[in-house]
């Protein structure tokens, strides 16, 4: 269970377990964490906890709340965060050592169902039931709504995963023939496409095991060191020569 350690001038005053959904902090005795100091407002701040996540909110206190030295109104607490209220400090510990998601036991990641969200907030009505009387000539209303949504920072909680390629040597392609001869292209993306769309396209994929070339489109398949590839991905070695759509290029590690 997560906990808060209250300290003053480096001396621990008390330890509080976060054992309920709402923990109030303030000068009045009614608070869960009472700090009897005039710099602290009657109802100073509140910590809301939903399962494993805790959120700190300043309740418009007179002197404000700092987290790690920065004033905050609302803050999603992370392990080791230091909350400053007046001269007092509250240090937040999740109780999960090295709380990285990838380090947790497998069962923790299993999807679970919760009956009703503890939050009252209804998801925005982007794709709520469509009215039954939808004439086929009507303009595309739904589409427009979705589009405006995209303008905001995309809600894409993707990939907390470590990217294994990050400590991989960077490779590049140098064009050997044709109008672009001599040009170099660093293969920094997960996928790099080569060739002419509609004619012949191949991609180089960057994987933890190395770089691979795969045929995507076109009647003829790419060649590596004079050998025509089949539909399978082919691992690339330093100084391999790729031939594609009449252009030769060299693959090499930088």
């Amino acid at each position: 269970m997560a906990k808060l350690i209250l300290s003053l001038d480096g001396q621990t005053v008390r330890e509080y377990l976060i054992d309920k959904e709402r923990i109030t902090i303030g000068r009045r005795p009614s608070n869960d964490i009472q700090i009897d100091n005039l710099a602290v407002s009657g109802e100073h701040a509140v910590i809301t906890t939903i399962l494993n996540d805790s959120f700190l909110e300043d309740m418009d206190s007179t002197n404000g709340t700092l987290v790690n030295g920065e004033p905050v109104k609302k803050h999603y607490l992370q392990n080791d965060d230091v909350i400053e209220i007046g001269k007092y400090r509250l240090t937040y510990f999740t109780g999960q050592a090295a709380a990285a998601p990838e380090a947790e036991p497998q069962d923790f990641e299993r999807t679970m169902i919760i009956r009703s969200s503890p939050l009252a907030a209804k998801p925005a009505p982007v794709e709520e039931p469509v009215a039954a009387s939808h004439a086929s000539t009507q303009p595309v209303s739904r589409y427009e709504e979705v589009r405006t949504d995209e303008e905001e920072p995309a809600p894409a909680p993707a990939a907390a995963a470590v990217k294994p390629e990050e400590n991989q040597p960077v490779a590049a392609i140098q064009i050997l023939t044709g109008a672009n001869a001599g040009k170099e292209l660093e293969l920094t993306k997960t996928l790099t496409s080569l060739g002419k769309p509609g004619v012949q396209v191949a991609v180089i994929t960057r994987r933890p095991q190395g770089y691979f070339i795969t045929h995507v489109q076109g009647e003829s398949f790419p060649m590596v060191n004079g050998q025509t590839l089949d539909a399978q991905a082919h691992v690339l070695n330093d100084h391999d020569v790729i031939e594609l759509a009449g252009i030769k290029m060299e693959f090499f590690f930088k």
Binding site: D53, P101, P129, V130, A132, R147, A158
Partner: protein
């Protein structure tokens, strides 16, 4: 009318790198123009029972509904909801009556193509994305605690990446006698690629890499699907991962009969 020539569909499902069981299930029918994906959960192995019931019942129900005739008169949204509600009831009853299935449930995302439109229904955190041109858009909104936290402003999308609550869905099929199904309807254009996926994909692969894969490998749809699975597994493959890709090859306006042509000519 068969949609075979208008739609190219590829389905792939993989247990991932960590789990021994695959609790995801996928079904697609290009001729009738639909795709269904479910991500089961709960019980020891009951998750795959729940997702299996969902895709089998729903695909059977959709086939029967679409083949009954009068496709142009059908309310597609109502048809999708009816099938989801029916599957919910069967999974719920099974979970109640079979002790080994207690607590099972499944997410659901499905797409039905008709008259140059896509009709969608979903429950839980399985997603539908659309690639149009080079732009990737997430069409469905997860029914998850994390999404609720983002919506209510408690947490920013950036902070959401660090959340411990990634795996909590607020809606699923088979958990309660009733279920609220989210429906959507959108215009479709030739060249669009639709991606239905379980969270094993979008938890492991960033949206930008999904976009890049669909953009670059779109002309070779089976290869694109394999690449998505491979990226999820290369990044750790901590969950089952499933994708259904639907490419709109040409338009598929529903044929209009003489009577409806006359009515539209009269401006009715």
């Amino acid at each position: 009318m068969s949609l075979d020539r208008a739609l190219e569909i590829v389905t792939v499902t993989h247990p991932g790198m960590v789990r021994s069981h695959n609790e995801d299930a996928v079904v697609a029918d290009a001729a009738r123009g639909f795709a269904v994906l479910a991500d089961g959960m709960g019980g020891y192995n009951a998750g795959e029972v729940a997702s299996g019931i969902a895709v089998n019942l729903i695909s059977e129900g959709l086939r029967a509904g679409l083949d009954a005739g009068g496709r142009s008169q059908l309310d597609m949204g109502a048809l999708l909801r009816e099938q989801a509600v029916k599957a919910n009831g069967v999974i719920y009853q099974t979970a109640q009556s079979q002790p080994q299935c207690a607590g099972m449930g499944t997410t659901l995302v499905m797409a039905l193509f008709h008259d140059n439109r896509i009709f969608t229904a979903h429950v839980g955190d399985s997603r539908l994305y659309r690639l149009r041109g080079e732009e990737l858009a997430q069409i469905t909104r997860d029914h998850s605690l994390l999404q609720d936290q983002i919506d209510s402003g408690m947490i920013t999308p950036e902070a959401a990446r660090l959340s411990h609550n990634r795996n909590l869905v607020t809606r699923a099929l088979g958990v309660d006698p009733q279920v609220e199904v989210a429906l959507g309807e959108h215009e479709v254009r030739p060249g669009d690629i639709y991606l239905l996926c379980s969270d094993g994909l979008n938890d492991m692969v960033e949206d930008e890499d999904i976009r890049l894969t669909l953009t670059v490998m779109g002309p070779n749809l089976p290869l694109a699907a394999e690449q998505l699975i491979q990226m999820a597994n290369d990044n750790g493959g901590r969950d089952n991962v499933s994708v259904i890709l639907v490419k709109v090859v040409q338009d598929f306006a529903a044929p209009r009969n003489a009577w409806s042509r006359l009515l539209s000519w009269l401006g009715l």
